[in-house]
Structure formats: structure tokens, C-alpha cells
Symmetry: C2
């Protein structure tokens, strides 16, 4: 008899058939005695269609009115899902963000939730019905419709779970959980029963698609129990719990998983004079050109000069080179070198904080595979290396094995 | 410096280009110093798309949720129109039915307006902005979204004009006014500067497409000045005023226009015993079969029996015959005769109430054209005849001329 908030994304409700399939899943949960609040996104493609329509009317639409238009996507979804539930004999009632009401600030297109009035929802649940709430939207203090920005439906679900003091918030998506590595690369990859939310964010090649960072932060703040499950499997299984607190009774593995990013490129400015502010003079113009820089390495200086290397997405390489050519003379660098064959491989785990041997094992494993490490960066829970992309799959598999991820931790 | 409520239907805002064209028209009105409130329908096709989506999810969707889904059509329109106005430098603010708020009863899909809070709209107008309101929708006392039924946007516009005590309510549509006859049949047909609303309703072949009856009734009740204009002409001209009160300083023509209905069929039950309740025994089952009966004639009885004739839409003839075959024996009728070549032509005018020669002129005109009249019915402001459809165009043109409609009345 738990109170569960379930969130279904756009692809999960993308067609009338899938809408009915979600209704059946919700009906099953209710039949098991649970009280269910469902948060839905717009049907896949709908938000983009509405934005394109707005752009066709006005090149840079007013954000207040953009929110009025775009929020209809979720409004259609809640109505349709309630119809589907009703068709299964399940009493259901839809709520727009304004109807709940989900009070936000007035920052249109990326509003922040300030307060949720959970009383009417509780009343409906007490009466035995299912409540269906539009994700992604709210209303400001003046009654204007607001939206929370892309992926805001996750945040709606977590915020509702917090306001309702729900037992659990389930995020249904097109993956069935968070894995130790991409199963397409590592057949032995296992689904994690639980993962720390910082780890999930670092397991980028899987994690960042699964849950919005804002939603996870919200869950951490309000101690909402979060779980990721598949909406496409007949039996969604147990999914993966996204935990925010160190659980004392859980023996955590040192490493939770191996992540990677393909299609990176490395740029090196050689013979850069070693003086204060030089990194900013080089990387400032790169940022101004809207190019994301990932790893940054500055060599130890020798004879008053140094080399500065950084990686960018391969698609940005040509533009980045052009920017560097503009600053080369100004900063007095000797040459610009670039390499477009790179990728990044990371080992991720909260446990590495208390296990100093983790990095050494990573370097030894790659050395044994004959893979040359070109750059290294570390964070508290992650060690990343830049290597040639042709070695990517071999590196990921070797690391997956070396850290014992092939076999389930007890 | 008038306060004007303008209503634009679905085809008027059917594409981004037309949306921008409506915005230019509104901007022009405002530039002339008028205060403008705009009511818009869903973009053409959108309401049907949403209903089809609902039916694909559940065969008979709950009406509360149908309103949630269908009302998004107008919500998209108000947002887009405001963006287009903003793009022209015109400050504009959109309101859903709930935001206004347009309070209705809780009869989903065909709710009735109970009250409108005009204060926030007045405030926006006082600040110099244009207000754009979603037609067709409202909100009940419990905050549920309601819709007024098809064509409800006209009613929204008239109700807003009444609540705001607007100087005029302008209905923009795809015709530029009400004509003395269909211009495709009678090239000499003239646009009427003004028409009584009862006349407009009777001028069905034109009028019923122009304005919803509910809206006209609302306008009559609250004495709203109503005008029909074209949204497709660069210069919409003066359109046609829909008047509800006899204006003393206006010399009304006896006849306002000639209307017609094609594709009618006549059914006759002969030798029906002349006893009380016989018409109900025949026409009751026809109504039960959802067949609309138009003209009904019962001959004077002779030798204790009579003939009963009535017209139906030609598409319903076969079904109507089947129904009559079922009742023929029961009522003791001699035979069933049918004729599927009929049409109906009407002369319409409030002035005929005080001019008894109108009917005689109609019959003489048709006689001179050699057109045989098969049935006659009259109302206070209309005389209709059933004739063979092959004579339709000749009859309409001859009547148009006979009543002097070819030349403008002083």
C-alpha cells in the first residue's frame, strides 16, 4: 500500500497504443493496492512541433507566450492518459500545472518550482482514483503559465513525490536501469541495483540520458527515493535505485562502472610563455565561440614556457583551431597541434575516495593492453583518460574486467 | 476610440502566415486608436485532429478529459497570435478561458457561460495592450476546464463584448457579410448592410455558416452590436450588421433575401385515416431514426382519410422509406410515394409581417416562370416552397428580381 509517483517520458506515451500500454501498467500498480500519481511528458515530437510552429509565426517568440503554446503538449497527454485509464475502468483525474497548483517563479521557459499544493491530489487518492499530472509546467503567482525547461517532467515528478511524501518516485524511460558499462560494448555489463546520483551523472554515456540533473538534485535535497525503470519491457523488473545517501548496510563496490565519450579531439598549443593568466587568454576565446572544453592539461613549465592541451568534441575541432590561430601570435605560442582520433574513458565510483589504488590499477590495465594514455584528469569519484579511439572498446572491456564488474558484487 | 471585440475563426488563423495577417489587422485597428480584444478559435483542422487522437486512445472518451485535450487547440492559437503581435511591436497578452476567468457550468463539451470577470482584461486594455482570449473554453466552479461546443468561439466573443460593454463585436469569417442571395447563383446579389438576426438564421444557405445561433441569441439578450466581416479581404469593408432591434430610422425592405436548400426529397403517405394522433404515429418513428423532417403538409381530409407529405434530406430518403414501410400497416395508410428531385426556396424578411402581398408575389413569380409549387410552408418572416431542383436557379433569380433585391434599397 505504497504511494508511488511514476513519470513517463515522451517516447513512453508517443502513440495511442503506448498511451494505452502505460494505462495498463498504472492500472496493474493500482490493482496491487498502491496509490499512484502519474506525471507525463508531451508525446514525443510534440514539443518540437509546437516550437517550430511558434518560430514560423515569430522568429524569436515571447517566452510568456511560448510557455502558453508549448505547455499544451503535456495537457494533451494528461487528458489522453486519463481517457485510457477510464477505458480500463480506473477512475482518473488530470491536472495541469496550474490546476495542481505547482507554483513557480516567473522565469518563463526555465522556471523553478517554489511550492506545490498537494491537498487536492491527496483527496483524489483517498477517494481511490489515479491522479495524472502534466509534467514540465507550472503557474506563477500571477496565474501565468510557466514551463520548467527541457526534461522538466523529471523535476515535476520528484517535486510531487517530495510534496506528497511518496514512498518512491519511479522514472520510466527507454533504458531499464543504469549499467556498469554500455552493454553494446561489454556483453558482461550488469545492471546496477543502486547507484549514487553523482556516479550516475558521471556514467555519462548512460546516465545523462536517464535523468535530468535538476531532478536528481531535487531528490537529494528532499530525500526522495528515486528509481529508474524501463517503460518498454513487459516486466520492468527492479530497475536501478538512484541513491543520495551512503547506505550503511550496503557494501559498495569501489568502482560502479566504466563510461566513455567517443569523437573527441585534442588541441595543443606548444611553447606558451609561462605567465599568469595565459590559460584564460587561450580558453576565454574558445568559450566565447561556444565550444565546450572537456579535459585540460598544462605541462610543468621548462625554460619559462609550457604546453597547454585540451580536448573538444570532434565536431568543434575546425572552429577551435581557427580560434587558436587568432590568439597564437598574441600569446606568443610556438605552434598549434591537433589530433582528431581521441576518445575519453572513465572509471567511476564513490568508493575510490577511500581506495587510493584505483588509479594505479587503471593505468596498469591499459599498459598491459598496450594502450597509450595521452591525458589524465581526475575528480573525486572519477578518473578519466584520453586515448586513441581505435582502442576504446578494448579499453572499456579490460577495465570492466579488471575492476571485477563482470561478476555481481555481494 | 472604441472598444472592439474581434473574433477570428479557424480558417482565419489556419497557418502561420494567416496568423501574422490577423496580427497586422489587429495592429491596424489599435493604431487607429481602438482598444481591441481578440477571440480566436483553434487553427483549422486542429480540433478534429485532437478528437481523433482521443478516439484512438479510448472509443468513448470521458468528456471532462476530452475538454482538457480539445481546449489546447485554442490555447495554441492565443499564444501564437500574441507572438505575432509582439513581433509587430504590439504589446499583447493571452488568456485561456480559465485565466480570464470565463465561468461556466460543468456540462463538459457543451458548457454554458455563467459569468465573466472582465477586470483583468480592462486593466490590460487601460495599459495600452491588446488582449487575446481563447474562444470555445471556460472553467467551472471547481477549476475544471470546460468547452462550449462547436462554434462556441462566437459565443465567447459575444459574451466578452457584453461583459466589457464593448462598442461592437466583429465576427471575422470567410464570407464578407450576409447577401440577398448566394452570389454564385445570382450575380446581382448584394451584400446587406444590416440584417435582423432572425432573418440571418432563415437565410440558411448563407447565414447559418456565418454565425452560431447561440451567439446571436446571446447578442440579442445583452444587446451586443454584432457585425460579420471577411478576414480574407485586404479591406474588410463594412460587413453586415446583425441587428436585434427594429431600428426606427432605418427603412427596411420587405424582403431581405432569397435562400434555398438543395438535395431535398418528398415523402407522401396516402389514404391515411383522419384521426387524432396520426401525424405523431408517422413522424415519431422518423424522429426516433434521427431523421430531420423539414416541411410537413397534411391535406384537408376527404371521406375520412387524408394524405401526409413531408420533406427530408435526400441522403435520408432510403432510411425514411424503410421507417414508413414499418408503420404503414399499423396506421392503415394506402401507399407510400417518394420523390427525390426536390429543393426548397424561401423568401425571407421581417417586413413581410406587415405586407400581406408578399406570398402572392412569390406564387405569381413562380407561375410566370412555369415552375410548379409542390408544397408551401410559412413562418412569420419566411415563405418556403418545395419545387423540382432543376428549376432552383431560375426560381431564385426570378424571385431576387421580383422583390427588387437587384437594386440597392434607399
Amino acid at each position: 500500500m505504497a504511494l508511488i509517483v511514476q513519470k513517463y517520458g515522451g517516447t513512453s506515451v508517443g502513440t495511442p497504443e503506448r498511451m494505452r500500454s502505460v494505462a495498463r501498467r498504472v492500472a496493474n500498480f493500482r490493482a496491487q493496492g498502491h496509490r499512484v500519481v502519474v506525471v507525463v511528458s508531451a508525446m514525443s515530437g510534440e514539443t518540437n512541433r509546437l516550437i517550430a510552429l511558434a518560430r514560423a509565426v515569430a522568429p524569436s517568440p515571447r517566452t510568456r507566450e511560448l510557455d502558453v503554446v508549448v505547455s499544451t503538449g503535456e495537457q494533451v497527454s494528461i487528458g489522453l492518459l486519463c481517457m485510457a485509464l477510464d477505458d480500463l475502468g480506473v477512475p482518473a483525474r488530470s491536472y495541469t500545472g496550474a490546476q495542481v497548483r505547482i507554483l513557480t517563479d516567473s522565469t518563463h521557459t526555465r522556471a523553478r518550482i517554489l511550492d506545490i499544493d498537494a491537498a487536492p491530489i491527496r483527496k483524489d487518492l483517498d477517494a481511490g482514483g489515479v491522479v495524472v499530472v502534466a509534467g514540465f509546467q507550472g503557474v506563477d503567482a500571477h496565474g501565468n503559465i510557466t514551463t520548467l525547461g527541457r526534461g522538466g517532467s523529471d523535476t515535476t515528478a520528484v517535486a510531487l513525490a517530495a510534496a506528497l511524501e511518496a514512498d518512491e518516485c519511479q522514472i520510466y524511460t527507454d533504458v531499464d536501469g543504469v549499467y556498469t558499462a554500455d552493454p553494446r560494448i561489454v556483453p558482461e555489463a550488469r545492471k546496477l541495483d543502486a547507484v549514487r546520483f553523482e556516479e550516475m551523472l558521471e556514467l555519462a554515456s548512460l546516465g545523462s540520458k536517464v535523468l535530468q540533473i535538476r531532478a536528481v538534485e531535487f531528490a537529494a535535497k528532499y530525500k526522495v527515493k528515486l528509481r529508474v525503470l524501463s517503460s518498454f519491457e513487459e516486466d520492468p523488473g527492479e530497475g536501478t535505485f538512484i541513491t543520495v545517501e551512503e547506505s550503511s548496510n550496503m557494501e559498495r563496490p569501489v568502482i560502479s562502472g566504466i563510461a566513455f565519450v567517443r569523437d573527441e579531439a585534442k588541441l595543443t598549443l606548444t611553447g606558451v610563455p609561462d605567465r599568469p593568466g595565459i590559460a584564460y587568454q587561450i580558453l576565454g576565446p574558445i568559450a566565447d565561440a561556444d565550444i565546450d572544453v572537456d579535459m585540460i592539461i598544462q605541462n610543468a613549465p621548462r625554460d619559462g614556457s609550457t604546453d597547454l592541451s585540451f580536448t573538444v568534441a570532434r565536431a568543434d575541432l575546425a572552429r577551435a583551431v581557427k580560434v587558436l590561430e587568432g590568439v597564437q601570435a598574441h600569446v606568443g605560442a610556438r605552434s598549434i597541434e591537433s589530433d582528431d582520433t581521441m576518445c575519453k574513458v572513465s572509471v567511476v565510483g564513490v568508493g575510490m575516495r577511500s581506495h587510493p589504488g584505483v588509479a594505479a590499477k587503471m593505468f596498469r590495465t591499459l599498459a598491459e593492453e598496450g594502450i597509450n594514455i595521452q591525458m589524465i584528469t581526475t575528480s573525486e569519484i572519477r578518473i578519466s583518460v584520453a586515448i586513441e579511439e581505435k582502442h576504446l572498446e578494448r579499453a572499456v572491456r579490460a577495465l570492466h574486467k579488471a575492476y571485477g564488474l563482470d561478476v555481481a558484487a555481494e
